[in-house]
Amino acid sequence: MSTVPPGQDEPGIGEPANRTRLAWTRTAIALAALGAAMLRASVVAGVIVIALSIPVWAAVRRIGPAPDALSSLAALRLVTATVVLVAAAALVIAFLGHGPGSLSELLHGR
């Protein structure tokens, strides 16, 4: 890989790197929005999901001016784990939340 001056993109990399940074930002916003929506059902779960969107947003900083590909899988693993965690929380809310047909209703015989 050629040496590039600090703060400058390698030729041909600037636009793809910008698009990738924007994709990370969109993902973080989507995560935060879902966390905000979950606040209605469960404040704790919502706050946790919103908090998890912060490291996802911070992953944008990982993409330097001259990326030498994915320097670490940690950020990508974090996104995957977060989505799975959010899905697990959503399942808990779906089954243990209140309302007709919920498990809590069946268990309490209401």
């Binding site: 994915l70 996104v79 779906a94 939340g97």
Partner: protein, 135 residues
């Protein structure tokens, strides 16, 4: 890429080709970034599926005469979201490995998985609505 796709990459030859048979070399960073964006796009799709499933369970009015109707429709969407998130990570590492080895990219299973499951849930939704209307 140093660890996506596992294995320590070998240095490429002067013409960009792998230095020896079976060796791995870093692909063009633009391809790696595109691979990463595809993974992120699938992750957002997974988040949207989870949100849709949660919305169905929490916000939709109950189906008359079908007490589990909302959960029957919402829970598969949430599970599908989790499955797509894991599958997207798996495909991202698999594609990266293929690019490093100079092999053609394998076909993605996620679009078929998504289309099949959503079609099934749509059929299920129609059945729940009809059942609710009949009662």
């Amino acid at each position: 890429m140093t660890d996506a796709g596992r294995g320590e990459p070998a240095r490429a030859g002067p013409d960009g080709a792998p230095a020896h048979e079976g060796a791995e070399s870093e692909p063009d960073p633009r391809f790696t970034l595109a691979n990463e964006r595809t993974f992120l796009a699938w992750s957002r799709t997974a988040l949207a599926l989870v949100a849709a499933g949660l919305g169905i369970v929490q916000l939709l009015p109950p189906f008359h005469g079908v007490p589990f109707g909302r959960r029957v429709l919402g829970v598969p969407l949430i599970i599908l979201g989790a499955v797509i998130a894991v599958a997207a990570f798996w495909e991202m590492t698999r594609n990266q490995r293929a690019m490093r080895r100079g092999q053609p990219l394998p076909r993605s299973i996620i679009p078929r998985l998504l289309a099949g499951t959503i079609a099934g849930i749509a059929a299920l939704a129609a059945a729940v609505v009809l059942l609710s209307a009949a009662r």
